[in-house]
Subunit: 417 residues, 2 copies
């Protein structure tokens, strides 16, 4: 069933702000069997909201409108939707009483403005807001359903999960949307596509999406199923994808690379310490974004200056002098040094030239050396990344996690002095 | 003049991907005097693209369409736009020759598909693509202008800057859009709004936007100016805003807090070292995102485990034992310890409970202690942040930078033992 999103809010038409709610909604709508085929972002303008809804009614069966339900004069969604549908607005005494209670509890000043949030559209089913003040609405209009949700993500997500999803489930029979996803690391997007496109092209019913994420390539395969139809061809396709990509697939869910590596460390009973130069905390911040990472992550050293490399990480001054800070020798000394100093099972190091300055012909901007030390010794790897300072740093942090995963799979280099 | 954006691409209707090109375009269109009042995201579907353009022609004078210009069968923008405008497509021999040359240079296989990119819409002005293969187009259609740009950001941005902006400048006379922006740190969004809304409400001609960024509150004030009109009231408003917010304003551009703090450190000839526990690299990664940060940032220690706090940062074991890892005493010992070990002018520490586990009644999830040590002594600060693990970590990293800025302004606590 065709769905679309209308996001209301002038701030999303400024250079600083995107409509991030639609990521959550897209995910949940897909899972519920709806195909999102259009998104519109409109400012706080009655005419634009009304016109966007009228256009949507001509093509979609489910229309989710977010934002513009608050108490201020800029919040015009209720009025514009009522106008588009030719329905009246009425003050709901139950909502009004609830609003007054909430306002009292928070010691906020009540006002006629706040009470606008108690206005509901004729015939709408009210969706109470447990996390805020503005209620949502579910409106059946001819063949179509219009859902109004508040803009703040916390309120929108809670309302969608607890109230909208159960109602959507009753809108069946739909065509279900079956989907499969893979995340791949250690390969370029073009390499991945080169391997998988000859496979998915054999399945014209399957929609394939290949996307570069932060340090991984995501693959998504979607197949719309009619009632009673099964997803055998999607399963056949996924078996072929697994065979083609092998260990490069690090998850078949939306798990992050750091979560997967963390799980492997915990299961193996290993601990990790890091020495980061050019990334200076980016990798450790990713590792510790995973709840419970203190089970395996001990800490590390941000060896931005050479003094820290020698003083705290134990890189011999003559190694730095002879080979430079960005070299296999320094990467190795950092990995061994951090492992020894923190007493971890594994020491992982990154040292490189993030740019824009500091490059030379021999050692260009983007050159990064990695070291991975464990009980058996230390391995080093060299890569040159493109794309500017932030991209080099992000790619380096992701690649170090990829190296660590290879090692934990028992396949990477390392372990051999 | 009213403008809108139509972003074409099915990937932007998946849960993983947003239309980020529109941030760049919004910024540049505003600067050129265009007011963006609507954005539409459509999939690779001819009907949806055609309908979106027809609707846009009814309300906007400038319509920028991005994506769908590539060589594959999914790239439908050219055909759909031609259909919407009732114009024909024709193969442009000049573009075709250029394409063949580029393909030869890159040793790519030529094909009928690649050559689709040489098809132009009748009457269009062709915009050559210096960074890729698909050319853009500038089409005058009645009162309106339609600009087609390629989807890859690098190609789009280069084409917009070198070719579209000069053409837009000739579309005058417009109403210019004057804008002012401020970024504020160390205050909650509601506090900022409480101070500034009584001011900006006096200027009904000015559009005010208040937005929470990563660790700062952004204020933007927009005023459309008719030809000959000046922005005196915007200047009056900004003087009042400066008076109301004072030092809480850290920039009047889009500079980041870490860039501002970095500049202050460099100008004062001071160096910085950090000890991060719960944030584990987030703050250092922000500090070193600024090119040239090695001038003032020496490095730091990620003291995730207690052993690292005592062993590497020099926190006395009995301080940890008596007061716990998350305490004023530990924050102070970390800040003093890192300053001493790295020989920096300033030592900055963060130790807290990011959650979801590890909280207690006395020390709840979200509790974070900060230490700032300099030549005169050490000050500590305590905060409790809400919003889950990632929000706590991000807010803590931002607050530490705010503390450092206060100290550098000579206004914060610190310096007194």
């Amino acid at each position: 069933m065709k769905a679309e999103i209308i996001a209301v809010g002038s701030e999303m038409l400024t250079p600083a702000h995107l409509d991030t709610n639609s990521l959550f909604l897209t995910h949940r709508l897909n899972a519920a069997g709806f195909e999102l085929h259009l998104k519109t972002v409109v400012g706080d303008d009655s005419d634009d909201i009304r016109e966007a809804l009228c256009a949507a009614l001509g093509r979609s069966r489910l229309i989710v409108i977010t934002g513009g339900l608050g108490p201020t004069e800029d919040d015009l969604t209720r009025d514009a939707v009522a106008a588009a549908l030719g329905r009246r607005l009425a003050l709901d005494p139950g909502i009004l009483a609830g609003l007054r209670k909430k306002i009292l509890r928070r010691s906020l000043p009540s006002s006629r403005l706040v009470e606008r949030q108690a206005e509901t559209i004729e015939g709408a089913r009210v969706l109470p807001n447990d996390c805020g003040t503005a209620p949502g609405m579910w409106i059946q209009h001819g063949d179509a359903v219009i859902v109004l949700l508040p803009g703040p993500p916390r309120e929108l997500e809670a309302m969608f999960e607890s109230q909208v999803e159960p109602l959507l489930a009753k809108l069946s029979p739909f065509r279900r949307l079956a989907s499969l996803s893979f995340r791949v690391t250690g390969m370029m997007e073009s390499q991945v596509d080169g391997l998988v496109s000859p496979i998915y092209r054999q399945y014209p019913e399957v929609q394939a999406i290949v996307l570069a994420g932060k340090g991984f390539i995501g693959l998504q395969f979607l197949r719309r199923l009619a009632p009673g139809e099964n997803s055998a061809d999607l399963e056949e396709l996924s078996a072929k994808i697994r065979a083609a990509l092998g260990d490069a697939i690090f998850t078949e869910s939306d798990e992050s690379l750091e979560a997967v590596v963390g799980r492997m460390l915990r299961e193996a009973g290993l601990t990790l310490a890091v020495a980061e130069s050019c990334t200076s905390g980016l990798m450790a911040a990713r590792i510790t974004a995973v709840p419970g990472s203190s089970d395996y992550f001990l800490g590390g050293i941000l060896c931005y200056s050479n003094d820290v490399k020698t003083g705290l990480c134990g890189v011999p001054a003559d190694v730095l002098h002879r080979h430079g800070a960005v070299s296999a020798e320094t990467a190795e000394a950092l990995a061994r040094g951090i492992r020894e100093r923190l007493g971890s099972s594994i020491g992982l190091s990154i040292t490189g030239i993030a740019g824009p300055g500091g490059g030379s012909e021999e050692k260009p901007v983007g050159l990064v050396w990695f070291g991975l030390a464990d009980g058996a010794g230390c391995a080093t790897e060299r890569r040159v990344f493109g794309g500017g300072r932030e991209a080099v740093r992000e790619r380096a942090a992701a690649f170090a996690l990829t190296l660590l995963r290879s090692r934990l799979l028992g396949k990477g280099k390392g372990g051999q002095p």
